[in-house]
């Protein structure tokens, strides 16, 4: 349906016996003629065949050798988009027994554009290939190959880049042989079973089975990610920090609980800084004077009283006799050093 502009030619062009292509009558002297696509017509005949009005801006649509103004043409012939209900001018997608704007024709599940990527009819719906495969898998329990879009025999699918495919679409990374369902993945490459076995599969230190997917190397062994766990709570580390002790791995919480420094005051595993003094450990906030509970730190001046810290003030308030003995004990300890 080409849109054409009027090409008007003035009358007296010199074609004396010309006949109007519409009414088949001749032209009067000095009558204006219109030349449209090689046809000559009366100016009065160069009108819309439906409304008999001249074409606005000279724009008309020709269909079946008849001319229509834009409005009538659209009303009579232009396709309506099934999605938005508006006329489709330009590229029309004819699909699902309807017409669509290319932009309106979308997958009914994921809403991806289908105009250029193609579509699949699934239970009266237009779906993209991926959604169609998903639907089929859901319904039948069988995988649909993302490469050739046909069903994959049960148990013979290969998950590659997160999608099920027939293994025979791929070749072994090492020997280039076409793969079958016994193939194995290592890092991101695919190998036939033979080549894979030759490379040596790591064996999980926990379950003693080969580690086909992500492998964790720790404690001199290989592990399935989900099998490398805290020896106490048995939760996998999943890449989090772990602490080693006597060939076993622990999460931070349980390492501290089992082997960390225990505060002499609160008797709990110390989280954060440790005050190490007088052959004991304390939480920073629990290192206090035994006499008055005032907070101390290692820079504070304190006396040792039965391997407990005693602040200077409290020391001064002690009975004289005791003070003397403490002083003497400190001096001997000092001289021994």
């Amino acid at each position: 349906m080409p849109v054409q502009n009027e090409i008007a030619a003035p009358a007296g062009y010199g074609i004396g016996n010309a006949i109007c292509a519409v009414c088949q009558e001749s032209f009067g002297v000095d009558e204006r003629m219109v030349n449209s696509n090689g046809q000559i017509l009366h100016e009065r005949c160069f009108v819309c065949v439906q409304c008999f009005q001249p074409f606005p801006d000279g724009l008309f649509y020709e269909y079946d050798e008849r001319r229509y103004c834009e409005e009538d043409f659209q009303t009579l012939f232009a396709p309506c988009c099934k999605q938005c209900g508006k006329f489709v001018i330009g590229r029309v997608i004819k699909a699902m027994q309807a017409n669509w704007h290319p932009d309106c024709f979308r997958c009914e599940i994921c809403n991806d554009g289908l105009a250029d990527s193609g579509f699949v009819k699934n239970a009266g719906r237009a779906l993209c290939k991926k959604c169609n495969a998903d639907e089929k898998t859901k319904k039948t329990g069988r995988y649909v190959c993302r490469k050739c879009h046909t069903y994959i025999p049960e148990g013979e699918h290969l998950m590659y880049m997160g999608e099920p495919v027939h293994p025979w679409h791929y070749n072994c990374f090492s020997c280039n042989k076409e793969l079958d369902h016994l193939c194995r993945k290592r890092d991101t490459e695919l190998y036939c079973l033979r080549c894979h076995d030759k490379m040596g599969t790591p064996i999980c230190g926990a379950c003693r089975r080969p580690v086909e997917d992500r492998v964790v190397h720790a404690l001199g062994k290989a592990w399935h990610v989900e099998h490398f766990v805290c020896a106490k709570c048995e939760k996998p580390f999943y890449g989090h920090r772990y602490y080693e002790r006597k060939g076993l791995a622990y999460c931070e919480t349980h390492y501290n609980e089992l082997f960390g420094d225990i505060c002499f005051e609160c008797n709990k595993a110390i989280v954060g800084d440790v005050v190490n003094a007088l052959h004991k450990c304390w939480c920073v906030q629990h290192f206090t004077c035994v006499g008055c509970n005032v907070s101390l730190n290692l820079r504070s001046k304190f006396h040792e009283f039965d391997m407990q810290p005693l602040c200077k003030k409290c020391y001064e308030k002690m009975p004289l006799e005791l003070k003397k003995r403490l002083k003497k004990a400190e001096q001997t300890a000092g001289s021994r050093k």
Partner: protein
């Protein structure tokens, strides 16, 4: 009693503070401090450096008390009700004038650190049930008048620190060897002539990390 003590108690009550410090307030007694024993939420009570001669039975009402410090006072006797403080973990009664301990003390079964240094305690002072304090991690009995120790002391299996220095100890019970977690044992300035061979077991625990600390400077070499 000074006004400031009254004020401190009131403030503690109004604000719901869990700690009350009445250190060095020249107190002779705490029985007449109004509202003190109604501070049910109190977790820590510090009464060090006063001239308190006894603690009232009503102290047993401070049911949430975990730390009680009466360091350096003139206390001669402790109340029975101490045993009803089930949450009490750290009791410091060092530098006082105690010559006996109440039976109730043994029932303060949550006690982890008990400091009775510098008192007038002797063999007859320990209540018969003191070995019930199974949670006890540190027992300070330095500067007292013990000549012997009951063998029940070996039942305090969690004991890590045992201070017996400056007593009149003649011998130690063999049961001391059962204290497998002991890291510190202070024995200096006693009248000991020998240590029970059972103590030799501790060597296995000391290893190279020198966690075990044993002082026996005062041991008579007789």
């Amino acid at each position: 009693m000074s006004k400031s003590v009254k004020k401190l108690v009131e403030e503690t009550k109004d604000q719901g503070y869990t700690e009350l410090d009445l250190c060095d307030k020249s107190l002779n007694t705490i029985a007449d401090i109004p509202g003190l024993t109604q501070l049910r939420h109190l977790v820590r009570l510090t009464l060090s450096h006063n001239r308190i001669t006894s603690l009232p039975e009503s102290i047993g009402a401070l049911e949430n008390l975990e730390f009680l410090n009466v360091f350096n006072n003139h206390i001669e006797e402790l109340p029975m009700s101490l045993g009803s403080l089930k949450k009490l973990r750290h009791f410091n009664a060092a530098v006082n004038r105690l010559s006996s301990l109440p039976r109730g003390l043994g029932t303060a079964s949550g006690l982890e650190i008990l400091d009775l240094t510098y008192n007038n305690l002797n063999d007859k002072s320990l209540p018969g049930n003191f070995s019930v304090m199974k949670q006890l991690r540190a027992l300070y009995l330095g500067d007292n008048d013990f000549e012997t120790l009951p063998s029940e002391i070996g039942e305090l299996r969690n004991l890590q620190v045992l201070v017996l220095r400056d007593n009149d100890l003649i011998e130690l019970p063999k049961a001391l060897g059962n204290l497998s977690r002991l890291k510190e044992l202070h024995l200096q300035n006693n009248r000991l002539t020998a240590l029970p061979p059972e103590l030799g077991k501790f060597k296995h625990h000391s290893c190279a990390d020198s966690q075990n600390y044993m002082t026996q400077d005062g041991l008579c070499s007789g």
